[in-house]
């Protein structure tokens, strides 16, 4: 459904990213669109701006996309990816300051009820508060 906020998961590890996305799909269901990416352009640990952009494009809808990241470079690269694609995007993209797995499940649960991007981000960020 395109009337839910979509989730993008960006980890240094492709396995972590896929695992987190699997948890979201299994626990929350298919109605929230989830995309993920992990690993650098050579397949090692790291993040890849091009892959992050592709993941965002894949799930972007009018209600926007909430991005969950793991450590340092994932956040910096995600910010860079979002800035570089600012002109082409249909909806808003926000980074959530939340743990990647728990934040993704919380964000998707909130999104499944049709919540706004702001509400989805707050729910993800609430997890540790």
């Amino acid at each position: 459904m395109t009337d839910c906020v979509a989730i993008v998961i960006v980890s240094h590890s492709p396995e972590v990213a896929k695992g987190a996305a699997d948890m979201v799909r299994e626990m929350v269901g298919e109605e929230v669109r989830v995309a993920y990416c992990g690993g650098n352009s050579e397949g090692g640990l790291g993040t890849d701006v091009g892959a992050i952009q592709a993941a965002i494009r894949k799930v972007m809808g009018p209600k926007g996309v909430a991005v969950l990241v793991d450590l340092g470079g994932a956040e910096t690269n995600s910010e860079m990816a979002i800035e570089l694609m600012a002109d082409e995007l249909l909806g808003e993209v926000v980074l959530c300051d939340a743990p990647i797995v728990e934040g993704a499940v919380m964000a998707a649960t909130e999104a499944s009820g049709g919540a706004s991007l702001d509400a989805v981000r707050s729910t993800a960020e609430e997890f540790l508060s």
Binding site: G46, G73, T76, N77, E79, M80
Partner: protein, 203 residues
């Protein structure tokens, strides 16, 4: 400015980073996650390989394109940091060839972009501890700006040894980051040296 300046910068920076990959890796293993050497090598190899795209460009557009290459290829935090640096620097560089004033003013935009991207300032054990003093040296130099930049890079790098990291992965180590020079500052110093070398042979 010599017509083959972009080519020389492209080749020499890649060669210098490749020659110091192991050193950067060792520095990053001490206080980071050990990927800085290979990330930088991969990024500058990609720039070196983009000869057809880069060599025909003026310095400003070439820097922008090289920055975008780093952003897309590096994979660690250094990609967006160095990438933002080169993109902002190149974008602000209007002259072809740039005057000394244009070079310094545009470099200041590049340094500002690194601060913004890293949400950081000099004094936090990062590449900014080299870039900020180098910028200041070039802006304020009475004599030879290249010599001033070299010295500022060397001194700036050394100041990171006694700093406690508060940004990036090294910040997890807190006090234990003291005593190691910062790998990002080291790669910045290497690049400054290389650019100085190239500019001296291509006045």
């Amino acid at each position: 400015m010599a017509p083959d300046l972009v080519r020389r910068l492209r080749e020499e920076t890649a060669a210098r980073i490749a020659a110091h990959t192991d050193e950067l890796t060792a520095l990053d293993q001490a206080i980071g996650d050990g990927d800085h050497g290979f990330n930088m090598k991969r990024g500058f190899e990609a720039i070196a390989a983009a000869a057809e795209d880069l060599d025909a460009l003026a310095l400003g557009p070439a820097l922008q394109k090289a920055g975008m290459t780093l952003v897309m290829k590096v994979g660690g935090a250094s990609g967006p940091l160095y990438g933002s640096f080169l993109m902002a620097w190149g974008k602000a560089m209007t002259g072809d060839p740039p005057t000394r004033e244009d070079f310094a003013a545009s470099l200041a935009e590049g340094v500002a972009a690194v601060k913004k991207r890293g949400r950081s300032e000099a004094g936090e054990k990062t590449m900014l501890d080299v870039l900020v003093p180098v910028l200041d040296a070039i802006t304020q130099a009475q004599g030879d700006p290249i010599a001033a930049a070299r010295q500022a890079a060397k001194d700036g790098l050394e100041t990171t040894r006694d700093m406690k990291a508060t940004k990036g992965r090294a910040s997890f180590l807190g006090e234990r980051s003291i005593g190691h020079i910062d790998p990002g500052a080291r790669s910045s110093a290497l690049l400054v040296e290389t650019v100085c070398d190239v500019l001296e042979e291509n006045p």
